[in-house]
Amino acid sequence: MRIPRWLPVVLFGVAIALLWTIVEVVAPAAIRSAHSGRGPLALRNALSGRDVHPASHYVAVWRHRARPAAVAVTVVGLVAATLSSVAVRRRIARALVPRAGSPAASLPPPGRRAAVTCLALGFAGGSLIELAIDPPYRGEHWPFSQYRMYSETPRRSPLVGRRLFGVTAEDPAREIPLQGAYIRPFDGPRLAISFDRLDQAPDRERLLTAALADCLRRYELRRARGAHAGPRLEALRLYRLTWNVDDRASTRDSPGKELIWEVQASNPPTRSR
């Protein structure tokens, strides 16, 4: 029996519509129902801690996990449906054949072809695995990455960050933000994210003391070498800065400051390395 050309497309359309109905309508309804104590026992048991979390929490978790999978299935299905067309397959085959007039390009030797294939598959495979497992920020398997910059929806206000300040050895003492040449070889993001990690570590006091002392030591060392023209410092302070963000950035120079840690130059602790 000859299968009509339109049948795979229609079947595909129905299957995708069904999939998205399940993802967006059926499953959330089932979750809400199970959360309120109705529906299958297995599903009710799966919602552990439903006394604590509202139904919307479980629906959000479901959507967070199910939507990417549904998008992947839709994309794969679209490709498959497109390739089911004889005309499309013929066009692709035509595109891959060199044009009649063009001089034929010779292929590299088999060994090199294998090496190139390994490189391409290694990169593509590693990247797709990284994308699939979606490791936490800073847990990426460099040089692979899922490139999640700007992927999370930021909260407009407040804007919070840990920043390093030096206290000058002047009378009166001033606080200056440490950035640029003052913190080399670090740059701003690397130092800020390092302090985020250290401040959340179980032995944060030891780590922050060592880290600040190290920054102060390098600052003074580089100052003595003439690598920067900053003033002599008598202390280093790590602050948590909080900005109440407004749309014109008019509060950019007036953040709230909360001291997290301080190290004095007169009594530098022993380095931890």
Binding site: P103, F123, W142, P143, P185, G188, D214
Partner: protein
């Protein structure tokens, strides 16, 4: 060549030795650095590695010992770029350089414009310049693949973590505003504060978000479609440029990899077509002399715009005599002659000086050939080499080989 030249310029003043002096409390190895347990070497070793890497980048840019220098640049570069990634934050614009260096290390990039290619041409003048082979196209396709997957991953990550919020919410407007908060965003201030203006126009921000997402997800199409290459590649380039201008983080080193999307071959053909065939120099040489053949092979390699017509004064003499009746064959066989587009005849060192202006690759050294004393020394050296060639088995033929 151009990619490595940009790498040299960008990394010339980067100090890697400084990482040896940073406390271990900051050290948190990532990816390949953790997998291979790569250590932070002592300062002298890191400084030596850094110098060696930059030297290898220079050699790769010039195409000297290309296979070895590109492989070395990849290995040392992966280590040196990987070390800072393990101190706090992974910079996403760095990893692509590692992939590009890996690709070029495996490629035969030195067969194109390189000192190696010139030396090979001098040693084996009979070989064709670069045969048409998949050897010279796969590195470009590989970098297309790398960039496509990177942008596609960025698009999928946005969908995964925020759904369509990047388009439908004020996410981009918030990024624009935060970017103008100085210390609040340590990645660097945006080049302009127009982001604040955009933030007041949510529809524009959402349109920009939709465009960004669409370009990121669509870049893999550029692997197969010429139209996608023309549309999406400039699109993602504009996207990164927009981030730098409106949000701060710079993608300069990432931008080096856009070189792989430039249709250099088509540009070369177009430039050659634009060259006026009537305004070409005539390069007259002794075709029976091995040294002259080597010289011609090298000059041919340098003549990327087809600005020179090479003519054998032995075999093509009847035609040359008709065209330039004032020239004598003996003189043309004795010394290299160049008849410039304006009809001026230059010989020996002056002939080289004349053609140096026709060959863009020689433009950097062309002015040096006019520095006082250089012409005098150059003419003497040329005369000495010309005398040497006659003594060394390249005798000047006494008559035309043509009937």
């Amino acid at each position: 060549m151009l990619f490595f030249a940009l790498m040299v310029v960008f990394f010339a003043r980067r100090d890697y030795a400084g990482w040896a002096d940073v406390s271990r409390v900051f050290w948190k190895p990532v990816g390949i650095v953790a997998l291979l347990r790569l250590p932070v070497l002592p300062q002298p070793a890191l400084a030596a590695f850094s110098v060696a890497w930059k030297a290898l980048l220079v050699l790769s840019a010039l195409g000297i010992f290309t296979r070895i220098s590109t492989a070395g640049a990849f290995l040392l570069g992966t280590y040196l770029i990987g070390i800072p990634e393990s101190f706090g934050k992974i910079h996403h614009a760095d990893a692509i350089l590692v992939w590009a260096m890996a690709t070029l290390a495996l490629s035969r990039s030195g067969d194109g414009w390189s000192v190696d290619a010139l030396m090979r041409a001098a040693r084996r003048p009979e070989l064709p310049s670069t045969p048409r082979s998949g050897e010279y196209t796969w590195p470009i396709r590989m970098m297309w693949l790398v960039m496509s997957i990177i942008f596609f991953s960025a698009g999928v990550s946005k969908l995964r973590h925020g759904g369509l919020a990047f388009v439908t919410s004020d996410a981009l407007a918030t990024h624009f505003i935060h970017s103008n908060y100085g210390l609040g965003r340590p990645a660097g201030a945006p080049l302009v504060d127009w982001g604040l203006w955009f933030a007041h126009h949510p529809v524009l921000c959402r349109a920009m978000g939709a465009g960004s997402l669409l370009f990121e997800l669509a870049l893999p199409l550029a692997l197969f479609s010429r139209w996608a290459r023309r549309l999406v590649v400039p699109g993602v380039f504009s996207l990164q440029l927009g981030i730098t201008f409106l949000m701060g983080p710079d993608f300069l080193r990432f931008a080096f990899c856009y070189l792989f999307w430039v249709p250099w071959e088509k540009i070369g053909v177009a430039l050659k077509k634009s060259t006026d065939t009537k305004n070409r120099h005539q390069f007259l040489y002794d075709g029976s002399c091995g040294l002259c053949q080597k010289t011609v092979a090298v000059v041919r390699r340098l003549d990327v715009l087809d600005r020179i017509v090479f003519r054998d004064a032995l075999r093509d003499w009847p035609a040359i005599r008709t065209e330039f009746p004032t020239l004598s064959q003996e003189a043309c066989l004795e010394n290299m002659h160049v008849v410039t587009a304006s009809g001026r005849v230059e010989t020996g060192f002056d002939a080289y000086r004349a053609i140096s202006w026709s060959l863009p690759l020689l433009w950097p050294i062309a002015p040096l050939l006019y520095v006082p004393l250089v012409p005098a020394v150059g003419r003497r050296v040329y005369a000495a080499v010309a005398r040497g060639r006659h003594r060394g088995g390249c005798p000047v033929p006494t008559r035309s080989a043509a009937p």
